[in-house]
């Protein structure tokens, strides 16, 4: 059975995902054939693909704001016409060090298909960068294969770059012969907070999705009395809305697959032969997304309550992140505890 891991965006809240992955890999001994990462998920999934869980845990429990972003005088950035409030120089150093050329070569030979989501500012398209030899194709997003290590690192940085807060990245600047080297890319979460639909397009049977938005909604008790608190609340609403929409389509797709499977079973019970059933459900259009697909098992693991981490998870507080990581492990345990008996073969 092929499995996919989908990690959503959320900055420092990625520590929650690291807690989930740690138990999926170390307690349940799961391996993932397809990994889809958005934003902080794009930072996590390459290490998860190579099973470097200890390195992930170290990164997501020790780094602080100074190691991720460089702060400036806010007014000066606006007056000087800069492209973002912060710069990403410290994170760039971490990415260059962690995802060095040797890491890239291992990733390319790993047999694991990694998809990193970005959005191109010029075309407004969702662009997915991948190491997959035979990547999925879709009308909804464009797919580009990694050409070199610099482009891979740039794609990871771009996916993590929240527009306005951090600068866009020219992902294809290092790609010889690329017609649009100057195109700027930002966080894939602008259009696809959690790449569940991308995972569903591959040939996996089971998808583990980790979201960082809270399952439970509690009305805020406080008044929003300044620009920044209103901005934080707006970003939270935006992320919640995008994450709900991202899940809607894959769940509807899966509901259709389940319906088709049920119809096939009914036909079989009524005496229609297997060969005839296959004839009824086989069309000449080989690109049909429902043909020859079995229903997917989609697991969604997310925190019960808000994780903190500031607007868009841009506040990297190691103590808070350690709690988030522990919270991720607990969330997975309670998710597994409520699974129907024998519904999965790994728990």
């Amino acid at each position: 059975m092929k499995r996919a891991l989908v990690i959503s965006g959320g900055g420092s809240k990625g520590a929650f995902s690291v807690g989930v992955i740690k138990d999926l890999v170390q307690t349940y001994h799961l391996k993932f054939d397809v990994l889809v990462g958005t934003s902080t998920g794009a930072l996590i999934t390459p290490l998860a693909a190579l099973g470097m869980i200890d390195k992930l845990e170290e990164l997501y429990t020790t780094v602080d704001n100074n190691q991720i972003i460089k702060k400036y005088n806010f007014g000066q950035r606006v007056i000087d016409g800069k492209v973002s409030i912060f710069s990403f120089e410290p994170l760039k150093s971490i990415i260059n060090k962690t995802y060095n050329d040797a890491f890239f070569n291992n990733l390319m030979m790993s047999g694991r298909d990694l998809y990193i989501t970005t959005v191109c500012l010029q075309t407004q398209k969702l662009v997915v960068f991948t190491n997959a030899k035979n990547p999925v194709m879709s009308n909804y997003y464009q797919v580009q294969k990694f050409v070199n290590a610099d482009q891979f690192r740039a794609a990871v940085l771009a996916s993590a770059s929240q527009p306005v807060f951090t600068p866009p990245v020219k992902v294809n600047e290092s790609v010889a012969g690329d017609a649009h080297k100057d195109y700027q890319f930002v966080d894939g979460g602008v259009r696809e907070y959690a790449g569940v639909a991308i995972a569903a397009d591959t040939d996996v049977s089971e998808i583990f999705t980790v979201l960082h938005s809270a399952r439970k909604f509690k009305p805020a008790a406080n008044q929003f009395t300044d620009i920044f608190s209103v901005l934080q609340q707006t970003i939270d609403m935006f992320i919640t809305d995008v994450s709900e929409n991202d899940l809607l389509l894959p769940f509807q797709y899966n509901a259709a697959l389940k319906y088709i499977q049920s119809v096939k079973n009914n036909m079989k019970d009524l005496g229609v032969s297997e060969a005839d059933i296959n004839k009824y459900f086989t069309l000449s259009d080989l690109t049909n997304r429902f043909q020859n697909r079995l229903p997917l098992k989609i697991h969604v693991i997310q925190p019960e309550n808000p994780l903190g981490g500031g607007p868009g998870g841009l506040d990297f507080n190691p103590t808070e992140m350690m709690d988030m990581l522990a919270n991720g492990r607990l969330a997975l345990q309670s998710y597994v505890a409520q699974l129907p008996p024998d519904s999965v073969d790994w728990a």
């Binding site: 704001n65 702060k71 005088n73 950035r77 990403f88």
Partner: protein, 172 residues
């Protein structure tokens, strides 16, 4: 004077420690050039000299010598006082005492102390200091008081400064 030096050293040390503890976007490495316009009065207090209008323009280059804490520089300007124009020149120090910060978006201003000494072409010999606010790294607003030891007068001024130098901070 000794107490003043001890106070200055204490402030310098406290600010240095707090600046090292977190990322501070104020008083970053590099050079700034301010164009300054000042306004005020001179007073001899109990002496027979009347209070007189004081105005001036000047240039004030500064360089950061202790990141997030201290800049040194020089004043060079023209001043109008007692119906006479004179030139004023001298060294200055700026010690940052507070960064005004948003919680997540970086800073927007800083408050710093000024210490300066000036010599004038009309034989002024002055020393003093003041307090200033640097807003968006573009506008400086402040007040200063200087004692002219040659003429036994006090110079009280408010000033507005505009940064004439271009920021070299990167985009990525």
């Amino acid at each position: 004077m000794k107490n003043l030096i001890v106070l200055f050293a204490f402030l310098f040390y406290s600010v240095l420690i707090s600046a090292q503890a977190s990322q501070d976007p104020e008083f970053t490495k590099g050079f700034i050039l301010l164009g300054k316009l000042s306004n005020g009065f001179t007073s001899g207090f109990k002496s027979s000299t009347p209070d007189l209008y004081l105005g001036g323009i000047g240039l004030n280059p500064q360089i950061t010598v202790a990141e997030n804490v201290l800049r040194v520089g020089a004043n060079a300007g023209m001043t109008y006082n007692n119906k006479k124009l004179s030139g004023l020149f001298g060294p200055m120090l700026a010690l940052k005492i507070k960064t005004l910060d948003t919680k997540y978006m970086g800073s927007y201003a800083n408050i710093h102390l000024l210490a300066e000494a000036n010599w004038g072409t009309a034989k002024q010999q002055m020393a003093g200091g003041g307090l200033a606010v640097e807003l968006f790294k573009k506008i400086h607003l402040g007040i200063t008081a200087q004692r002219d030891y040659h003429f036994n007068t006090w110079w009280f001024q408010s000033f507005i400064g505009v940064s004439l130098s271009k920021s070299k901070e990167s985009d990525d």
